[in-house]
């Protein structure tokens, strides 16, 4: 009895070992990082095909560093998980371009090199933009461009309602404008308060504009910011659908022409040109007047940790090329971003349409800055939950933010 069963066991082992060996043999040869091979670049711009200017620039930067570049574009939300898994498996790309708040997560995971290791020069970058990529005195990447939020307005609608957008300087004058628009039977403002990072991103200009800090979510200033939004829904200035709106669906509402204002980003500029009405932009006002600090959006170029540290040199050359002044202008023009370098920002600000945006980016703050780093995601989740519960009428702004502060500090 033992004879055949042992033989059978041996046979099974042999067959499976063969199959596994065959499987691992072909995979290990493919991602073996050796010098001279193609340099892998991952970016969150799947909208750019291989014949786009962006990819051409990547190839050009590779050629000038003396290597070939192989590029893959991923969906932004997908890229965080892809990057973490790649780091776990030890097959990270040579150059990784990711959304700025992800940098602190990847840095925490030990997946990114610091500027000490990779010798990137980040001195030209604006401090407020670079902040999102810094933690405990170390810098983990270079901003490739920045975007932020402002208020788009429907010029035709405001003119008909007799509202002067230039007179909107603080929350009181904004509320007055919204009330006038509503009295004329039009809708006031649309934004995105969805229960994801997007919702926090949209709420932050009002939150910071009230003088509140992310370290104290239930301060009276924070309550006043959430009360402003909750009140807009109660008064009918803003539609109830904002609770479920992404920034894209919110833009679609604005594009119907029925809304006076929309809180949205630089990336909608190309779509704004296609609107059936004339539009304008103003900075988001702070509670007491002046532009509110909006959160910075946009991506960072980083160099992930490699087993073969000899590759950093070429990677550094590629990144330096991508973030050189002239190339930044090209890249940021295709992406409708504001450049992270003051000199290039000045050139962009010459275009009157970009002027508001350049100013907004200069006043903007990084979400993971102020040394919040990986504490930010938890704070943000508590914050968007509070926004949702106050807007849907579950809790008062005060109660919602008190619960948020409790959740953010205990976890």
């Amino acid at each position: 009895m033992t004879g055949p069963s042992r033989r059978r066991r041996l046979a099974a082992v042999a067959v499976i070992a063969l199959a596994v060996a065959a499987g691992s043999a072909c995979s290990s040869s493919a991602d073996d990082p050796t010098d001279g091979g193609a340099y892998l670049v991952w970016d969150p711009y799947p909208q750019f095909a291989d014949d786009s200017e962006w990819v051409a620039l990547l190839k050009k930067c590779g050629t000038s560093a003396g290597v070939t570049v192989e590029r893959t574009g991923y969906d932004t939300t997908d890229l965080t998980n892809k990057a973490l898994l790649a780091a776990q498996q030890g097959n990270s790309p040579d150059v990784l371009i990711v959304d700025n708040p992800v940098i602190s997560t990847l840095a925490e995971a030990g997946a990114l090199t610091t500027t000490d290791d990779n010798k990137l020069d980040v001195s030209a970058m604006e401090k407020n933009l670079l902040g999102a990529g810094q933690s405990e005195g170390k810098t983990y990447g270079v901003p490739i461009g920045a975007n932020t939020l402002a208020l788009y307005y429907n010029k035709d609608l405001l003119t008909a309602a007799g509202v002067d957008p230039a007179a909107i300087k603080d929350w009181t004058s904004l509320n007055a404008a919204l009330s006038t628009v509503k009295a004329k039977g039009k809708k006031g403002i649309t934004f995105s308060a969805i229960g994801t990072e997007e919702g926090s991103f949209q709420f932050l200009p009002w939150f910071w504009g009230s003088g509140a800090q992310l370290t104290s979510l239930d301060s009276p200033q924070a309550v006043s910011a959430l009360a402003l939004w909750a009140d807009w829904l109660k008064q009918g200035y803003a539609p109830n659908s904002v609770i479920n709106n992404t920034q894209t669906t919110s833009w679609q509402e604005f594009a119907t022409g029925n809304y006076a204002f929309a809180e949205n980003g630089t990336w909608q500029l190309a779509n704004a040109e296609k609107l059936g009405f004339s539009y304008g932009t103003i900075a988001i006002p702070a509670s007491a007047g002046g532009p509110a600090p909006a959160p910075t959006g946009g991506e960072f170029v980083s160099i992930p940790v490699q087993k073969n540290t000899g590759r950093y040199d070429k990677s550094q050359q590629i990144v330096a090329c991508l973030t050189s002044a002239d190339n930044l202008l090209t890249t940021d023009t295709t992406l409708s971003y504001v450049a992270p370098v003051a000199a290039v920002q000045d050139r962009q600000a010459a275009d009157p349409k970009l002027k508001v945006w350049v100013e907004a980016v200069r006043a903007a703050k990084g979400r993971t800055g102020d040394n919040l780093g990986t504490k930010y995601p938890k704070i943000s989740e508590s914050l968007w939950t509070a926004v949702q519960s106050a807007l849907s009428g579950g809790k008062s702004p005060q109660e919602a933010l008190r619960a948020a502060q409790a959740a953010a500090s205990t976890r």
């Binding site: 055949p4 067959v15 997560t105």
Partner: protein, 323 residues
């Protein structure tokens, strides 16, 4: 890929299974090449099962038993945490409501899908003109990609520009904040899920109906049974095995529904339409800083729930066969 662990576990599995299979009756000792050939045929499916079922399941259990942070996820060396992740999940204030939502979502979806599916199956069993065409049309929700149906539902149920509220307005009823009020969001996702689940119930029950011999209905009609009596006396009991498998498959499918809810409400507002499946995803992937441990723990709890349902089914099925 840790190929060594894979080979050793399979060897053990096979070793454990092999002696039980041919212990007593050995009709004809096959020659050696035959056996090699047999293993050759078995190998692909074994490798497939291990690579795509056993290994991920093992990883998921392992994730849930260790205290993973992003750092230890990448660098390795996460400390063993026993049942800490399960404790975290079970004591989370969101656990109670989320479990209730999961139960309500599953029970309500199954009840409505099954009754409506059954009613439609009986209706189409009458074979009237155009019945084939209409039946084919009812299958459309099944064929649509979920992203399409879920997005369509969220447009229909939009508070301000949705068709449903517009229709209610015509009749003079105030609009409902279907997706944005904590009181309605769960109902809305249930409605969408029922709509998507009806075709499956219809198809399976309809084919079950065709297996019932028509003579039984003829005989009962001669005996003067009413339609209602025929349903409860013939159709329902004879359809029992089919109904059971429909409900079980529906249960397993509904427990893990994620995409519809995520697309329509993201489990919100404030967790009012969150189920265990969306909660697990939110912990693992919905935040900038993933919490893999608790996320995996919820995933495993879901598997256990589905397993219990499966065992209950086997039990009922066996009892039925014994009778």
């Amino acid at each position: 890929m840790p190929s060594t662990t894979q080979t050793s576990t399979t060897a053990r599995d096979k070793g454990g299974a092999a002696p039980t299979a041919p212990p007593r009756s050995h009709p004809s000792r096959r020659r050696r090449p035959d056996r090699w050939l047999a293993w050759g045929f078995l190998a692909p499916v074994t490798v497939y099962l291990i690579a795509f079922y056993a290994y991920p399941l093992y990883r998921n259990v392992e994730l849930s038993l260790r205290a993973y942070t992003v750092r230890s996820f990448v660098q390795g060396g996460a400390p063993f945490a026993g049942l800490d992740n399960y404790r975290t999940v079970l004591t989370d204030p969101a656990f109670g409501p989320t479990l209730t939502h999961t139960v309500v979502f599953t029970a309500a979806s199954l009840a409505f899908q099954f009754t409506i599916g059954m009613a439609l199956a009986l209706f189409f069993h009458q074979h009237f003109p155009l019945s084939r065409t209409l039946r084919a049309l009812i299958l459309v929700p099944w064929l649509l990609p979920l992203i399409v149906s879920a997005s369509t539902w969220s447009w229909l149920l939009n508070s301000d520009s949705g068709l449903v509220n517009a229709a209610l307005g015509v009749v003079g009823i105030d609009g409902v904040n279907w997706l944005t009020s904590p009181g309605w969001s769960l109902t809305s996702v249930i409605i969408a899920n029922v709509w998507i689940g009806i075709p499956f119930n219809l198809v399976v029950l309809y084919s079950g109906l065709q297996a019932i011999p028509t003579e039984m209905y003829e005989a009962s009609a001669l005996d003067g049974a009413s339609g209602w009596q025929r349903f409860w006396g013939i159709t329902f009991p004879l359809l029992r095995p089919v109904s059971l498998i429909t409900l079980l498959l529906g249960l397993i499918y509904t427990l893990k529904v994620f995409d519809i809810i995520w697309i329509m409400t993201k489990g919100g507002p404030t967790g009012s339409s969150a189920t265990l499946a969306t909660w697990s995803y939110r912990l693992g992937f919905g935040n900038l800083l993933p919490e893999f441990g608790p996320g995996a723990a919820i995933g495993n709890l879901l598997i256990v729930l589905a397993l219990i349902a499966g065992l209950v089914y086997i039990r009922i099925d066996r009892r039925q066969h014994l009778r």
